[in-house]
Amino acid sequence: MFDTALFPLTWRVMRCRLVASPLTLAAGLAFPAVVVWIGIRDSYETAAKFFFFLFPHVFLIAAQDMVRTDIDGGALENVLFLGGRFRRFLWAKNFVLAGTVGAYTLLLFALLSAWGLAVGKFSPVHAARFGMGLLAGFYYIGLAGTLSYFLRAGSNALVLLLFQAAAVIGLLFSVTSRTGFLDYAASGRFPGLGSKLLFGGLVAVLPNVVVAGRLAAFGAEVLAGLALSLFVQDRLARGLELRK
């Protein structure tokens, strides 16, 4: 499915789409602004925590509306995508989007690191957390891309956000005075298989949690999820026909 000749075309189409999308632009620009605001109002450490936990969501917002709208809108029935090239174009979108948003977040991370160095708070662990966050971001692109074969417009990203909201609300309601799930998550130690599986379910919808160093083991689950979503997308793309 790899067609490197399609990458420049895909990049030009995706670049224009990202720039033309008010939501993506707003999310991409508002995020660093909020990080800076938190850093000024509170501390660099708090701003860094916020950054590492939430920057994977920039990938999710950028991954909205990846496939179905292009198919239903008829834009793929174009001379640019003859001979099955539309399949490889949809596949290439994953990698172009991952590279584009990855480069943007790397720039933000470089600025955050420079800020940390300036105030003497930078830690090499931040690089590892950034790497885990990238993994979570790539997972979002893979998962949202797969969902986008079935869901129109931005509903692929919206569905994930709704699941995340439900998971967070569920966690809040589950809080008790005794040692509970959140404490296990905070310590990175789970007493039994049940709580591990439950946390694995949470990681599947909110992979951002793997940026916390103690939970890095669940990074393997995110990696497996990424591989699975790309595999499913590959199968979906291979079987795709433009019937409109």
């Binding site: 029935e77 001379v79 019937r243």
Partner: protein, 231 residues
């Protein structure tokens, strides 16, 4: 240029094509005719790789292929110049300035180049069709497949497109046109493929077609078509 052998295609319970076979020679204009739902667009899409046949094969000779759909659609966030720029990978290929080539082809099509600053989604249906011609013709295709070539075009544009088809054919381009405009097809086509209910019921070059016409004492293509399709 194109050789289709026993193409079949189902959409769920509907059999869209059944054992459709034909050959199209290089440097000719072939008209694909048929009633609504006869399988014309399905055949074109299989040739172009947008659909896969359930069985059968299509061989298209190597070369640059162009395609103009019945109702062209584009990425809504791209303007005309950007879309033409995306075709940079398949430019004129003879060292000709691409900007000059675009303006020359636009003039041939009576297409206002000022529209290129706007998004094709905002064009009228006729201008969207002409833009699709422009996008394809700047790349000098060896094979041009057109679904409803005159749909949405005004009479002067129809004449321009007809002249372009003849010019392209004389330059060695192969054209496959799917149309309901029988009189127009009769004026320019060298051969015909008639589909009915997903089956090719006639496939003839212009000489055979003339014989068929005289044998049936039919005055024009429309009469032959109506007789063949039992309409």
């Amino acid at each position: 240029m194109i050789e289709a052998h026993r193409l079949s295609k189902h959409f769920g319970p509907v059999q869209a094509l059944r054992d459709v076979s034909f050959k199209i020679r290089k440097g000719t204009i072939t008209a694909m005719l048929g009633e609504n739902g006869a399988g014309k667009t399905t055949t074109l899409k299989i040739i172009l790789g947008f659909l896969r046949p359930d069985s059968g094969t299509v061989i298209v000779a190597p070369g640059r292929v162009g395609y103009i759909p019945d109702r062209p659609a584009y990425f809504t966030w791209l303007d005309g110049w950007t879309i033409l720029g995306l075709s940079d990978g398949q430019p004129a290929g003879n060292g000709e300035d691409s900007g000059a080539r675009i303006l020359a082809v636009a003039a041939d099509l009576l297409f206002d180049p000022a529209l290129l600053r706007r998004r094709p989604g905002s064009y009228s249906a006729g201008n969207a069709k002409k833009f699709a011609y422009l996008q394809n013709l700047i790349a000098r295709p060896d094979l041009l497949v057109v679904d409803e070539p005159y749909a949405a075009l005004d009479p002067p544009s129809i004449k321009c497109v007809r002249d372009l088809f003849l010019k392209l054919r004389d330059a060695g381009t192969t054209l496959l046109l799917s149309s309901h405009m029988l009189a127009e097809m009769e004026r320019i086509a060298d051969g015909f493929i008639v589909l009915r209910g997903g089956t090719a019921i006639a496939h003839a070059g212009i000489k055979e077609w003339r014989l068929l016409r005289s044998a049936r004492t039919a005055p024009d293509l429309e009469s032959v078509f109506l007789h063949l399709t039992g309409s």
